[in-house]
Symmetry: C2
Subunit: 397 residues, 2 copies
Amino acid sequence: MHRHRSSLGDLLHHIHVSGALSRAALAERMGVNRSTILAWTAELAGAGLVREEHPAGTTGAGRPSLVVVPESSRVWVLAFDVAVDRLVAARVGLGGRVLERREAARPRAGVDLDMVVRKLAELGRELVDPGSLCVGVGASYCGMIRPGDGMVRYGPEMGWVDQAFGAELSRALGIGLPVAVGNEAHLGAMAEYQRGAGVGVPDLIYLHGDVGVGGGILVGGKLLGGESGYGCEVGHMLVNPVDGRSCLCGSRGCLEAETGEYALLDAAGHDPGEFGRDAVRAVVREAADGDRVAAAAVAEIGDWLGIGVANLINLFNPGAVIFGGTLREVYAAVAPQVADRIAHHAMPVSRERAKLRVSALADDATLIGAADLGFAALLADPLEAASTRTTADLTVG
Amino acid sequence: MHRHRSSLGDLLHHIHVSGALSRAALAERMGVNRSTILAWTAELAGAGLVREEHPAGTTGAGRPSLVVVPESSRVWVLAFDVAVDRLVAARVGLGGRVLERREAARPRAGVDLDMVVRKLAELGRELVDPGSLCVGVGASYCGMIRPGDGMVRYGPEMGWVDQAFGAELSRALGIGLPVAVGNEAHLGAMAEYQRGAGVGVPDLIYLHGDVGVGGGILVGGKLLGGESGYGCEVGHMLVNPVDGRSCLCGSRGCLEAETGEYALLDAAGHDPGEFGRDAVRAVVREAADGDRVAAAAVAEIGDWLGIGVANLINLFNPGAVIFGGTLREVYAAVAPQVADRIAHHAMPVSRERAKLRVSALADDATLIGAADLGFAALLADPLEAASTRTTADLTVG
């Protein structure tokens, strides 16, 4: 029975990640025969999770065989993203498609747990679609999250320590579902591996630029958790021990202190009141337009970023390093500095294998990662999860 | 059939790592009943790999039940260790006991492949015991090793690039067995995890002091290999980008340049002609005896080592950091500096879980790790490996 659940979950996972697949393709990927796929697909279709249809754009005679597609608009999760300059909520359908979204600008200061939870719950409730099936809730947060219960152990940017974010958001939403919470860079790494710039690269490093720099590191396709789930803290790697900039963590010279938003805006002489991805992108644009102060600031950040990346290549021998969040634009501007540091400091046998890429999922990488947390229960046991949840649960209180 | 081989291998592995175990203890560990253990033990005993005996020191009535013990003196591997100041060969019995060893001092300069292979083979052949069963050969080398064929991709201390060490040593030995080669710190990490200071700690970092600093990092009980097996290069993490000491790798300011043997001896004003573990230990002793120059040198090295360890704690959230090789003595002398850097730079949620320990296997950690490489084939399929090898193969040509 357990084995059967897991087979249905595997099939649904293939559809969730790859979209439409023919029965033949599924049979090959899963190593079973087509009649087994037929039976499993029928079970999943009976539960309203997938349907079979002719591939888009095909008609008439000789058209290819049916494909299995996810019931994206009927089966969905709520996904939340707590980023530095905004709060995002989305309804994300099975298959990873963002069906609808709400965003709110976020003040930098004075963001306590109540305020964040209240606003997210308000955005989330607007997205609930009573005629369909909500199978989970996931959230991405820019801090260190305790595995299992969504407790924010440490969120330096907001000054949060031990805040019960997951539990409180679940309570405020009031739709009878727990909220699975993950660190933004961890989720970004998983999302890029599943359906972004890291597909097929089980050993990869995802660096997420935000106010700081977060890291999500996959080792053999699994997130590096460590002893208690707090690994991957790339941003607090000390890279400048001599005259480092001060860091939100209380130390100086951390990678994120030298390459994060504050460092870039400060080095570029921008107003300290500016912040967020638009401010970072403005500096990168000014540098590209020939502004010498901005160009020097960008180059300085690139040099420190290159040191961090070279160290990570030596430690992890990754197949790819993926730059996400605001590091997408920053990396595009500082690729020469990063390449130079890698050439000087990374071992040849390791650097020859590390492809440097920008995030394919762009600003949605963390949100899609959060959605996948929400889908985890469904993919573990599709029929059980689909039957437990009913639209009646979604009557918003 | 495959499942049975793997069960026999598991049983033998328990005996190999833990030594004598009763059938009851084996039954509990393996989750099978005692009569199954009885049958499997009989098969392994029939192949001459284990025997049953009364626990040592017990006689007469009421003595405890029989224990299964490895046939250590009859079943063994050759293990080699290429270290900075010596070449070591040992006959290591099943169970991990060093039965007999040979060592040769090693000059620092002029050590080409031929010289090393010839000397190791000479030492190794002296250890061959024709009346018993040699089941494998393993070697530890202080450099980057290509997985699978024992090719030294990069051995900066000897100036080796792409040297076919494993193949050449196998040929020179002439006993019809391939030589499995591993990086010294990788092997030390595995050995400490199996039977040393890291037992029960699947996420651990082993730092090996030699002329440089090697790293072996276990993630979930597995060595961090990365995309092509060259991960864990802790020694070339750039920690001092501003005025770093030059490193054998061609860069400056690497962790091993700041904390390795050269840095310590130079900072302590020792004769550049001195080298090896005795020279390092002499500086540590002088510092303990109140020599101010030596004490300052040791403290400086400790400060850089602390930065490296703090960075690793942030990245890996390890359950333990184990100091081996010459870092055993160095760490004992610089624990305050290391603790101070960890307190300043490592995230509290991670540093609270990282126990700092010195290697339990001491100077034999890498050698025991090499022996375990040699035992791998036997543990994968005990009966096959035991029957293939015969004492006739061991007629040294």
